[in-house]
Structure formats: C-alpha cells, structure tokens
Amino acid sequence: MKLDVNGQAREVEADPEMPLLWVLRDLLGLTGTKYGCGEALCGACTVHLDGNAVRSCVTPVRRAAGKKIVTIEGLSPRGDHPLQQAWAELGVPQCGFCQAGQIMSAAALLAASPKPTDEEIDRSLAGNLCRCGTYVRIRAAVRKAAGV
C-alpha cells in the first residue's frame, strides 16, 4: 500500500484494516503519535488526514491511502510551528505524552480558524485528554500561537 506521510511516499505491507496508528508506529517507526486508548477517546493518536484532525487509532490504514498524512514529526520541517514554539515558551507539557496529539488538534483548529474563540479552543481540544492536567496552559498556548 502506498502512503503519503509527511510529504514522503512510503510503501507498507499491511492489512488494510490495521489502524493507521500502528502502521505509523510499528511499520514506519514514527513514534511521535501515541497510543492512549484505542477507541478515539483520548486523542493521543491525533494526526492530520488532508488537513483534518483524525484519531489514527480507529482509522483503518485503507482510509488514509491517497490522502496526505501529517504526523507530529511532519507538522513543521524545523519543529518551529507557532504552536510548538508557544508550547515550549509557556512550559505547557508535564509528562509530554499527550502533547503531540494536543498540538495536532490545535494545529487543525488554527488552520480552519486562525483566531479561535475560547469556546472553539475548548471544543476542538475536548477530545484530547491530559492526565497531568495542563489544560489551562494549553489554552494559553493556543491563544498565544493565534495571537489572540
């Protein structure tokens, strides 16, 4: 199966029903995308498919074929997306495990709505759990990156 991952053409041999998450992690070695629940309940596995935030743990890889897949590793070639910078500047992460998913959800939000309201931020990130409880800083970092 041919996949477009972070702008590169990749070829994998996989059951078409295998969730994209495991293709990325186990077959392509892209471990920035995390497993947290397997049922689209926590958002740790969030990636972009043609610019939309999706939960890769419930997305069969066949549905990703022919689409542009972007993971945290490919969000910005220099790792300097405004969200990544804001996250570092505000010291958002605690354990860091959920943050790639948080950033991918926030990036899809900002792409669709560059100046989001607080309600939009809450709604767009409601699917991303953070057990360390960094939500207040996440909101602040999204606002900072958006300049609102």
Partner: protein
C-alpha cells in the same frame, strides 16, 4: 512515604565513588534532541532555552567519559571533560513533575556551573545513585542536601586545583559560570582546564555547602528542558523504543487477582496473521507484591496482530479466592465497620463522654471508591536477553526495584540486569510497580527475541494496583457557644500493606499518618479509630495516597461544622486548627512511634499551625474570599499538609449549561519550603488541581465478581478541557526552609474545596465520591 520506606528498608544513603560511563545503548535511547533545525526554530525563546535544548542532547560515549581523555568524575553524578562540558546525571524518573528540569539546577548551582549549559544524562537503575524510587514526592525533599553535597565536592576539588594553578589561596576563589575566578587578580580558569588536575585530588570527606544566597538559580522559574522533545514527538517513551527483531506482546490476564487459566485454546489466536507465539505466564502466589498477574501472552510482529491475537484467544478463567468481591457490597460492610468502635490510634481526653454531653452533635460519613492512575501512557516495557544478561527499557518510577524483580523472576543475579529509564507518560504511583517489566523479561526469554509488552487502556484500568476503597465516619460535639469539644474519626479501608503481607487488614501506621493522626486539631477530646478491612484487589499507592480520602473527609467535615453553626468556613477552619503552634506526639495525642511525618524528623519539619494559617490567609486573600461570599459566589476552601508541604485551595463553582456543578476558577497557595524550579512547582500544582477535580467529579473503579467493571475512558472519564477551570492561580510562599514535597501535596485539598464550594452553591453535601458516577460500559462481544 514511610509506608513504602518501611517496606523497602532501603536508606537514601548515597555512595560517592565509582562512576561508570553511561552505556552506549542508553545513550541511544535516552532523550535525544538532535534536530538542530528545531533549535534554530526556537531562536525566539532566547539563549537560555536554546542552550538548554542543546544540553539535553545525550552526549555520546565520548562526552560521557569513554574517550580515554582525562575526565573529572568525582562521583556518579558529575563529569567534567577537558572540553569543559559538564555532564550531570538525573537519577530520578521524569514523569511530568519536571525533575529533569530541577535536579541539575541544584547540583549546577552548588558546583558553579551554568544550568543552561549542562549535558543531562538519564541514570540507569543502579544502587550507586542511592535512592531512585521516584515516589513519595521525595526527589527534592529527600535529596536536597545530598545533591548539593555532590556539587559541593566537585566544586571544592576544582577550587583546590585552581588555587594551585593560580598560586592563590583557595579561600578567596569563587566557582561560577563554569570557571574558577580570583577576584583579586581578576584571573579565571575554566572548569575544562582544571579537569585533569582536579581528577587527581582526593574527594573531600565533608564537602562544605555554599551559603544559600549563592544558589542563584534555585527558586527561579527555569525552563522546561525537555520541551523540544515533547513538542516534536522526539521524546522517547517506553513504547517508542524499537530494537532490531523486536516482537510485541499483549497479554490476557485473569480478570480477578489470583485467578488462573482454567482452559486455553490458542488455535484461533495463532491463526491471526503476524502472531508468532502464544505463551502462558506463571500464576502469582499470595501476597501478590510486584508479581505479574499471569495469564496468556500473544506475541506478534506488531501491536495490531498482538491485539487481534489476544481477542481470538479462547480462555476460561478460574476466579480464585477473590471471585466473590463486590465493591458495592464492600461499601456497606465498610460503613458497618466505621459505625462501631475501632482500634484507637490517636486519643486525647474522653471523646465519648464529651460527645455525650455536647450541646450539639454533628455526624457525617464519607465514602471514596477505588481509583486508578490511568496515566496517558499505559504501562509498556521492552526487554532483550543476551546470554545470561537482560536489558530493559521501561517507563519505571523505580528502576532498582525493577532490576531486583526482573532478576528474581529470571533467576539471575541483579548485576546481570540493566534497566534503562525512558520518559514516563505519567506515573502517579502506577509505574513504581514493576509487574509489567517482569512480564517483558519473561516473554523475551520465552521468545528468544526482544519483546515489547504493551498494555492496552483496558489492561491499565482492569489490572492495576488500585487506590483503596474507604469509608469514614466523623462525629463532632459542639458546646453551646459553638466550640468543638469532641472529635471522633473512624476509618476503614484495605491497606496497601495487604499487597505485601497476607494478614495486613487495617489502615497502617504509614496510612494514618496521611492526614489523620498528623492533623492539628484544637479539640480537647479526640478519638481516631481504625477498623478492619480485608483486601480483595491489588491495593497500591496513587498520587498523594490516603491523603485523598482523609483530607476529603476532614476538610469537608470542618465545612459541615461551619454550616451547622452558621459560621464562615474559614473562621471555623482556623478555629479547629487552633492558634499558631507546633505539635508533637503529646499535643496530637499519638504515641511517638506512631508519628511517621513522611520519614522526616519533627525538629526539622514540625507540624506547624502557623504555616497552615499562612496558606489559608494567602489563598483566601487571592480569591477575594470575603467579597466573593458577600457577592453570593460559591467558593469552597480546604487546607492540607502532606509530604511536608502546606497547600490551601479555594475553588469557585457555578451551574453549567446542563445544571451541572462546574469549576470556574481555582486559587492555590503553597508553602513547600525551599523550591528549586518555580515554574515546575506551579505546573505541578495546576495539574494537581485537575487531577483532584477528576477524582471528585468522575473517578470510580467498581468491581463485580472480583473483576473491574470499567474498560476505557468512556466509563472511567477524566476531566476534559471544557470542564477545566478558566484560570488556576498559584501563590508560592517564599521560604528558605527545608524543602517539602511538590508532586503530590497539591491533590488532597482539591476534592474537599470543590465539595465545599458545591455545598455553598447547591446546599447539598457531597459525601460519597464521585459526584457524577458513570455506569460501566459492557464490552461488545
């Protein structure tokens, strides 16, 4: 925590000899931020942050001392190369508390090195580092002086070497900014040029610490060194470790603790493409300690095949001795227990007589269910056998216990087991227990290949070490003037000790020292009594442990007394705590040997009511307590001392759009003694609020027929962003006193503060957690 300290019997003593270079493999898998481009992109963060980001690049073996070049390594924590690079080992596990952004600051400050230029290396499990068990909020409070001593020893040797080189007396030389300076001649020698000479000197037996004022970075908000790895996905957690030829295992464990495989048909599992092997694991014996739970492992080429293979297993289980356990029924038996007298653990005056003569008696019962840590990263570990050796990569809070447990399970010497510590995607106490690491070792041996054990979320929720399930009954007697003249607190819950000793069947000394026997109460007649409760699940410690239910009961109850006497809850709280004073065993009404004080001496860490008062004053002032109450805003207050720190919390709640109680804003005042990295302390307290809010609102693990009913975040929900407070304000009280804990103490006052605010809003008292129970979701077959 003394509970664990007692069990371990391992001191925090540290050796300052040796200093083997970190292994190449560790360097390969520890934190690498090799993306220079990322650093370039962070130019806007300023030089300090960028320098730190460089600092987290793991040095190759050469920088760690393997080049043969003379290197100054006076102890296992510090190495200085002739190139001037200062390498510091972080021997504690990073699980979100920010220890990797804190511990090296302390060492570097004492040494005279710039923390921003330090190369940070994560230490493997090794007794040469002393205590590595990263729990009990102990990293700073337990090692503050030890880590300063480590830095001071190296500094003194560098100064001695510099004195010789400069022909100047040692006394006037100053180590600062990675060099030794002579303020008289204005000459300086960089550390790198002193490394060879310093390495030839004797390590001072009694290093002299700097005056506190010379620790220039301690207490300031230092950057989060691992931020670049976290935000680019480069940070390596246990499940991210990939070895050549590695297989992945997912395990079907008995649903009931001490259950066994009764029948197994593995044919369908083996037919799943990608499945390599099915392995039955040995069943544990009581007490379970850190043994794996047994069951059947499906080993496959990748995670998806392992998950599908496990689903295809046909297993029938023997329930074993815990198969009748029903947590709802257990609640009723706990309540019956606390309605009868128990075994006294704290006594002053005559509580029974004072209750009998009181003008008014207030009684309340509190129930807190089993809870589970649910770190975002479920347990995972990688093991590789090589001849008689075993190498482990794991998200462990306690690498030395992992090393010992793996050695025991494999029947090899612990010197043949290497444990590399990855990042932990949250720990909260779960990852102190190495059962999942032992599984990886057993399976790597069985498979003859490296194996990663991956716990699914269902595994994590259904096979954990659970926070205990408790009931407490409180009664207070008030005189006609509204003064509290009697206080009776009865508590019953299965003890953590039951996981390690078969006959432990009531709250232990360590457990009642978490907000029961150590609470200052200005009440002349006191009785605290424990009741029997037998464990039917693996009971373990979860962030702040028994402080959770005990602070919830005590701090809710004082608010109830305020309501019963129509007093301002803050005034009632101050009255019950009493005037500023320190309390010892006699004043508390406990035997001296019963007072654990988190393993700290009382003269250094007294139970100090003035510090309670200070955080109450600070937090209520910040929240505008009087104005808020006058304006009819629903605010609730709680204060608690745990792990030697004092935390006051005010929560403000309102009705949400569906009539639900929602937390709008929170204020926290913290007196944690000396703090190292102010921003990480703030972030811990912010996070602790949300952690406490989750357990108040949703947290409940229930068990039927001995098995956990919850499966995933659908029925073990956590607070999500829309429910998180709009703002969490943190006030840190400046202190040069000895450090207290930080990771855990923020949690206990949260649930009672929200409960008290909810009462102010609704007039209904929440005495049974959680506020919003969630019905378990049945598995789809």
């Amino acid at each position: 925590m003394s509970e664990r300290g007692d069990r371990r019997g391992r001191g925090a003593s540290e050796e300052t000899t040796g200093g083997a270079p970190p292994s190449e493999d560790r360097a390969r898998f520890t934190i690498t931020v090799s993306r220079r481009s990322f650093l370039a992109g962070l130019a806007g963060l300023g030089a300090a942050a960028a320098g730190l980001a460089l600092g987290v690049r793991v040095p190759g073996a050469e920088a760690a001392g393997a080049t043969g070049a003379a290197v100054f390594a006076p102890n296992p924590f510090i190495q200085i190369g002739t190139d001037g690079v200062v390498t510091i080992v972080c021997h504690r596990s990073e699980m979100g508390q920010g220890i990797r952004s804190s511990l090296h600051v302390l060492i570097a400050d004492e040494l005279g090195a710039d923390p921003a230029k330090v190369q940070l290396v994560q230490g493997d499990g090794d007794p040469k580092y002393g205590d590595q068990n990263t729990d009990g909020s102990s990293s700073i409070r337990g090692q503050y002086e030890a880590m300063r001593t480590v830095g001071a020893a190296a500094r003194m040797m560098l100064v001695t070497a510099a004195a010789k080189r400069l022909g100047a007396p040692e006394a006037r030389l100053l180590a600062q900014g990675n060099a030794v300076h002579d303020p008289v001649t204005k000459r300086s020698v960089p550390f790198g040029e002193l490394a060879v000479a310093a390495a030839k000197l004797k390590v001072p037996a009694k290093p002299v610490l700097r005056p506190r004022a010379e620790l220039v970075h301690v207490g300031t908000p230092m950057p989060l060194v691992d931020a670049p790895g976290y935000v680019t996905g480069a940070a390596k957690f246990a499940a991210d470790v990939q070895l050549p030829g590695m297989l992945t295992a997912v395990i079907a464990r008995p649903p009931v603790v001490l259950g066994k495989v009764a029948r197994l048909d593995e044919a369908k599992a083996k037919a799943v493409p990608g499945v390599v092997q099915v392995v039955q694991l040995p069943a544990p014996t009581a007490p379970v300690k850190f043994q794996p739970l047994g069951g059947v492992a499906v080993i496959a080429r990748h995670t998806w095949a392992a998950i599908r293979g496990r689903a295809a297993l046909e297993v029938a289980w023997d329930g074993g001795p815990n198969a009748a356990y029903d947590s709802a029924e257990f609640t009723r038996s706990l309540l019956a227990t606390v309605r009868a007298p128990g075994e006294p653990v704290r006594r002053l005056g005559d509580a029974a007589a004072a209750l009998a003569r009181a003008a008014k008696v207030v009684e309340a019962e509190y129930v807190v269910p089993h809870l589970v840590h649910a770190p975002m990263e479920p347990p995972a570990a990688v093991a590789r056998m090589d001849g008689g050796r075993c190498e482990i990569w794991a998200c462990t809070q306690d690498p030395q216990t992992a090393q010992e447990s793996v050695a025991e399970a494999l029947g090899i010497d612990k010197s043949a087991v290497t444990v590399h510590v990855t990042f932990l995607g949250g720990g909260f106490g779960r990852k102190s227990k190495p059962d999942f690491i032992v599984e990886a070792a057993l399976l790597a041996r069985a498979a003859g290949a490296p194996v990663r054990v991956q716990w699914t979320r269902e595994d994590d929720l259904r096979h954990s070490y659970y926070h205990t399930h408790s009931a407490q009954a409180l009664a207070a007697g008030l005189d006609a003037g509204g003064n509290v003249i009697a206080w009776r607190h009865r508590l019953a819950y299965p003890s953590i000790s039951s996981t390690f000793a078969p006959n432990a069947n009531r709250p232990s000394r360590g457990e009642v020292n978490q907000g029961v026997v150590d609470v200052p109460l200005d009440v002349p007649n006191l009785s605290v009594e424990t009741g029997e409760a037998k464990a039917h699940a693996r009971v373990g410690w979860l962030r702040s442990v028994c402080n959770i239910q005990q602070a919830f009961a005590v701090q809710s109850f004082i608010d109830e007394l305020a309501a019963a006497t129509k007093r301002d809850p803050r005034d009632m709280l101050l009255q019950v705590l009493g005037k500023p004073r320190t309390l010892g065993p006699a004043e508390l009404g406990v035997e001296a040997k019963m007072l654990g004080n988190y393993g700290a001496p009382l003269d250094k860490h007294p139970i100090d009511v003035a510090r309670f008062h200070r955080v109450i004053e600070k937090v209520t002032a910040a929240a505008g307590w009087d104005a808020a109450r006058k304006a009819g805003r629903a605010v609730g207050l709680a204060v608690h001392r745990s792990f030697l720190s004092y935390i006051g919390v005010v929560a403000q709640v309102s009705r949400g759009p569906r009539g639900e109680v929602r937390v709008d804003e929170a204020w926290i005042a913290a007196d944690c003694g000396t703090i190292i990295n102010a921003d990480r302390v703030r972030s811990q307290l912010e996070g602790a609020f949300v952690f406490g809010q989750s357990l108040f609102t949703h947290g409940a693990i229930t068990m039927k027929a001995g098995a956990v009913e919850q499966r995933n975040f659908r029925d073990y929900p956590l607070v999500r962003m829309p429910a998180a407070p709009r703002r969490i304000h943190v006030e840190l009280i400046p202190s040069e006193g000895p450090p207290g804990g930080v990771g855990e103490p923020g949690v206990p006052p949260v649930a009672p503060a929200i409960a008290n605010a909810a009462f102010a809003l609704t007039g209904t008292r929440v005495r049974t957690l959680p506020l919003v129970p969630v019905r378990p979701v049945r598995p789809v077959s």
